[in-house]
């Protein structure tokens, strides 16, 4: 789905803080949305949690920085970090180029995705959320 110039894939779920989550059993892959990447403009630095670190739904787990600003990253789910995208160390601009592809951030082994998923937005609700922010 394309919404007001922002790509919002149909097979993902979203936070109000513009992270996406994708089920790739047994883990959940996480990134930031096209809207977040475009709003930050040019991402030059990404700080992610370490492997095996615990993250909690809607709590901060890192930062994404543009030249001018720092933006907090919030975890869409609770669980344990199993993988981080190493390519972002030297190529943070991948987040801008491909926020849903090569610019993914990390993978998390979820505690209970089935119940926490209810707290996340489906593509349609996320599109409505973006629209409300642009007004």
């Amino acid at each position: 789905m394309d919404h007001a110039g922002f790509e919002i894939p149909d097979d993902l779920v979203y936070t109000k803080e513009h992270e996406w989550a994708k089920e790739a059993a047994p883990v959940i892959r996480v990134g930031i949305t096209d809207y977040a990447a475009k709003t930050l403009n040019d991402i030059v630095y990404v700080t992610l949690p370490k492997l095996e670190e615990r993250v909690t739904q809607f709590k901060t787990m890192g930062t994404v920085e543009s030249i001018k600003a720092v933006s907090e990253l919030y975890s869409p789910i609770s669980g344990t970090v199993t993988k981080v995208n190493k390519a972002l160390d030297s190529h943070p601009e991948l987040v801008n180029k491909s926020p849903y592809g090569e610019g993914w951030l990390l993978e998390i082994r979820p505690d209970d995705f089935t119940s926490e998923r209810k707290n996340l937005l489906d593509p349609k609700s996320y599109a409505a959320h973006i629209e409300s922010l642009q007004r």
Partner: protein, 371 residues
């Protein structure tokens, strides 16, 4: 919110942001791209939001002489010089450029955020007669043309031979047949010009838009994002972040602005006292190995003792590293020393440097033709 004469263009092409009460462009494409365009080619900036005052009349030179720590009457006509407004405690009210157009005509260019305060400061000290002070911010536009290709980009728009204009010199001429002041100045570290186009208002902005669009066809429009990263990479202070009314020139590495044997200006008594001893804190540059330092972050020495604070920081597109200007205890450290900056709980390693942050053989106005 206030807007400049070029707002119609920005609205169409830029991501907008609020700055000093104005709606201004933050970026057009990306800050990195715009930044690199200025270092490698040419970028243009709308700086019409900056405060501009005409100070004229037989008493104007004498009046300004008593207001700033730099010589005024001694400067030749046509000089555009950097100086400071100080308070009685020698704290920096603002930093500014004075363009001396004649012995009795000065164009004063100040920071947008301080324009109102500066006007108050000027009028407060003004003599009862012999001078006129007129704000011309709303009746003129100002465009900065910056980068190694700046002359090539601007020259087709003016009959004035820009090659004749030395650095920190200014000329009254015209640009696309409109009266204009061109000075060879800027806030990026690169060679370049600042063009003030007279007689354009928000009601009649066409003349300014025409100049902007013509320049934009041969260069890269740049927003406030690149303006900030460029000035920081060059080591220039931003008033409100790196300098403020609580900071004196010696603490900010601006002692060179204070003329050695000059007397009797606002703040002079305190300058005399401050001169007697080295400053308690000094300005330094920091380059980090990892992370981006930001305003307010703590600076530590090699043994993790706190020595100061980051006053402004960013990511340098040239170095591909986090860089910052900071205020640290004097004698605690010199260029080359290892320091750390506490970035959200993590002590990131780096070293002190003397700005500019870039290699002056490769970047900045000192390279190439200017030498």
């Amino acid at each position: 919110m206030k807007t400049t004469q070029l707002h119609a263009y920005h609205e169409k092409h830029a991501k907008l942001t609020e700055f000093a009460g104005y709606e201004m462009p933050l970026w057009y494409t990306t800050t990195t791209e715009e930044h690199l365009a200025v270092r490698n080619s040419c970028g243009i900036f709308d700086v019409s939001h900056m405060g501009r005052f005409m100070v004229t009349g037989p008493e104007s030179a004498g009046f300004l002489e008593g207001l700033v720590p730099t010589h005024v009457q001694r400067q030749p006509a046509g000089k555009a010089f950097y100086t400071l407004f100080l308070n009685e405690k020698a704290g920096i009210i603002d930093d500014l450029i004075i363009i001396k157009q004649s012995e009795s005509g000065f164009l004063v260019v100040v920071n947008a955020a301080n324009a109102e305060n500066d006007m108050h400061h000027i009028t407060q000290h003004a003599p009862p007669g012999g001078i006129e002070i007129e704000a011309v911010t709303a009746s003129s536009a100002m465009i900065a043309v910056q980068g190694p290709r700046a002359m090539e980009v601007l020259q087709p728009l003016t009959p004035f031979d820009l090659g004749q204009l030395k650095r920190f010199r200014s000329a009254e001429t015209d640009v696309l047949h409109q009266p204009a002041v061109i000075s060879r100045t800027g806030y990026t570290g690169e060679d370049g010009f600042e063009v003030i186009i007279r007689g354009v208002t928000n009601e009649n902005p066409e003349g300014a838009l025409l100049v902007w669009e013509k320049l934009a066809g041969a260069s890269t429009p740049c927003g406030l994002g690149a303006r900030d990263s460029l000035r920081l990479e060059a080591g220039f202070p931003l008033h409100g972040s790196d300098i403020d009314p609580e900071t004196n020139p010696f603490q900010a590495d601006l002692g060179w602005v204070v003329a050695a044997e000059k007397k009797g200006y606002v703040g002079y008594d305190e300058i005399v006292r401050l001169r007697e001893a080295p400053p308690d804190v000094v300005k330094r540059g920091v380059v980090l190995d990892r992370g981006i330092p930001r305003h307010g972050f703590e600076v530590l020495d090699g043994r993790s003792n706190p020595i100061g604070t980051v006053t402004s920081g960013t990511f340098s597109p040239i170095l591909r590293r986090g860089i910052a200007l900071c205020r640290v205890k004097n004698a605690s450290s010199g260029p080359g020393d290892a320091v750390k900056v506490r970035v959200r709980g993590s002590d990131e390693e780096g070293r002190l440097v003397k700005p500019p942050f870039y290699d002056e053989k490769s970047y900045g106005w000192k390279r190439g033709a200017q030498r």
